[in-house]
Structure formats: C-alpha cells, structure tokens
Point group: C2
DNA sequence: CCTACCGATCGGTAGG
DNA sequence: CCTACCGATCGGTAGG
C-alpha cells in the first residue's frame, strides 16, 4: 500500500515547510526544487508560479478552518441550539485543533498571505472577515441572551482569534501541553472573561 | 526651530515603513534609498548593512517596551505594592500604549525580527523572554495572593501578549476606538478572566 | 524532468 | 552622496 502523493502535493509540502521557516519572499523556487532533488526550472512542469504554490497552501488552510468551525457556528437543523458558552467553547476547540494539527500550513496561512497578488489577497481578506464574523456572532448572541457580558464583539473576537492563532507560532507536538489542554485553557480563560459578571449569571453553569 | 533628524534616523524611518508594508526580505536597499531620493549605494555611507538597519529598528522598539512596562512590573521602593489586578492592568495599558504610539516600529519588531542574524536573533529572543517573564510573574503573584484563578502563568501571559501585539496589525489612529479604549477593553477582559472565581474573590474589588 | 538560458535585480564596494 | 561596477541570485522559459 503505497502512500499516494502527487508531485504537486510534494511541492506544496516542501514549499510550506520553507515558507514557514524562512518566509515566502526569502524562499527561492530553487530552494523548493532542491528539497525535492530536482532542478529549479523543473518545478514549472507542475506549477504555474511561485505565488500559485502559496495560494494553494493558503486556501487549503482556510478551507480547513471553515470546515471544522463553520458547522459549529451555524445553527444545526434538528437538535437544540447550544448555549453561547458551549458554542464558543466548541469553536475555540475546533480552531485550536486546526492550528495544531495543520500547524505548518496554518502558520504559512497566517503569516505569508500578504505576499499573494492583490486580487487573491483581497479574496482571502474577505474569507477571513467572514470567518471572524462567526466568532463575532457567537459572542453577540451570548450578549443578547444575557449569558455574556456586554463586551465589544468585534474587539473580543479579534482578541480571541489572535491569541489562538499565536499558538501556531510556539506549539510543539512534543511539548509539555497537549493541543487539547491548550485549547481548554484558552476556552476556560475567554469564557470566564465573557460570563463573569454577565447580566444573567445566576451562578448556575450552562457551560460545557 | 528646525526639527533635528539625522540622516541615519531618516533611513531607519523610511526602512521601517517599507519593512512594515512589504516585509524585510521583499524590501531592497534601493527601495529605501529611493524613499530618500538618493542612490542605492549611497546608503552605505550611513549604514553598514541592510540588516543593521533592521537591528536598530527592532532594538529601539524593544527598548520602548522595557522602558514603559518594566518600572510597573518591578516593585517600587517606597509606595505600597499595587494589587495584582491593578498592576496587570497598568502593564497592559502601558504595553498597548507602546504598540499604538510606536505602531510602525512595533510591527517591524514583532514580524521581522526573524530576519536578524543568528546572533542578534538569539539576543532578541532572550530579551523577549525576559519581557514575557514580567507578565508571567505578575500573574503568578496574583495566583499566590489568591486574587487570580490558578491558571497556567506562562500560557496566560503568552495569550495576553499575543492579543495585545495583534493590535499593531489592525489599529488605526483615525479608527472608531482610541488606543485607551482598546487598552481598557483588553484589560477588562483579561482581568475578568483572571479574577472571576478566584479563591479570594470575596466580591470586593481591589482593582483599579 | 534536464540543460541552458533570459533579463532583472539583489546587497554591497571602489574610487572619487 | 554619485557613478559605475562586482558576483550572485532571482522567477521564469525554450526546447528538448
């Protein structure tokens, strides 16, 4: 049972590793080719441009975040809607799961997307804003329900996502904390910040 | 009264602006020279290398953070030590003040420092760790005093600083929120997260 | 996928 | 601070 990997996929993997450690602008196409033991020009049998490779990595990472977190943010059809704290906790967990399990691509997505062409960068900015809106809404709903303190949803969503994205910079799979522990710690922290002193905080926990 | 600005300073200012918007690796020495209406080679009458300019920008930014936040973190000689929440609030305010008032240099400091030479990068990594330690200690003291929940000081300090540093990416002086409002919002958020449900939270506010 | 090449640009220097 | 230049390297292509 051979592991299926197209040449294109190998190129993206090698490029992602290099973009992550040196940055997109400081990585040459010859660096990428060398990692695969081929000549620089040979890359162009598989990709149209260096920027094209970046685009593939970045859009795939964006897809993963949407695939994991999106379903938790939108109301499910059948079952009862979760409480605001429970929903936000699930979203934080899912986001951290993607950050840690797709760490390399996530780091490139977060730090190198500005090297995309104007058009693609604008497209990605729109996707990112839509994604952040999922968190803004989750927070806004909690405020409306009285379970969350009346914070600024935009500012708070940005603070939460910035902190979670930062995990991509320092997380080590062999470190002292598992991805789950890190996720739970952050979820605890931010949900405490949001529920503490909330209008309808009558001491009983609707969380988790 | 002419505004005193050395050529070296002008170079660093122009470079900082360019490093910030394009990144260090994607900025050429000719780009910097062009911003000052001189030839590329002429830069080298004032600087030893491109990396030298980056180093100046980055270390000056690091100095500012230390100068503003350091005194708040270490116990003052004469007056009574502030409570843990009050101290952390002051540190958060001071950090955000530097991020927003030195936004351009702070952004370069935060995002481009990895392009320093190995030696300088290691030096800066040590400074950053010492700086983060100020926040870890402030949190640790609060936990020891029973005013803060028993969180992981390292993880929490990193979360706070990552969120605060993110402000450098999106803050606009002409935006809807002042730097002070942003600072207070973040201070409120994180201090609520830390004090809520703390062992010694007997409902009276020792904060600010 | 290779060889061989394109024009452009890189950081930096010599000599004034 | 300029002119003129250094060797190296850049992203990408032609033709096989």
């Amino acid at each position: 049972m051979a592991i299926e990997t197209t040449r294109r996929q190998q190129i993206e993997d090698a490029a992602s590793a290099l973009f992550r450690e040196r940055g997109y602008a400081a990585t040459s196409v010859r660096d990428i080719a060398q990692a695969l033991n081929i000549q620089g020009g040979s890359l162009y049998a598989h990709v149209a441009s260096k920027e094209d490779v970046l685009w593939s990595i970045v859009s795939r990472a964006a897809d993963r975040f949407n695939a994991e977190v999106g379903p938790l943010a939108t109301d499910p059809g059948a079952p009862a809607a979760p409480s605001a704290p429970a929903r936000l906790r699930a979203m934080i967990r899912a986001h951290v799961e993607v950050v840690t399990s797709s760490q390399r691509d996530a780091a490139v997505f977060l730090h190198e997307w500005r090297f995309l062409s104007d058009e693609r960068r604008a497209q990605m900015a729109a996707r990112r804003d839509a994604y952040e809106a999922l968190f803004r809404q989750a927070i806004g709903r909690g405020i409306a329900a009285g379970t969350f303190s009346p914070v600024d949803p935009r500012l708070t969503a940005t603070a939460i996502l910035t902190a979670l994205n930062g995990i991509a910079t320092w997380y080590r799979p062999d470190g002292p904390l598992t991805a789950q522990e890190i996720a739970d710690h952050h979820a605890d922290l931010f949900i405490r910040a949001l529920t503490c002193g909330a209008p309808g905080s009558s001491r009983e926990r609707t969380d988790s």
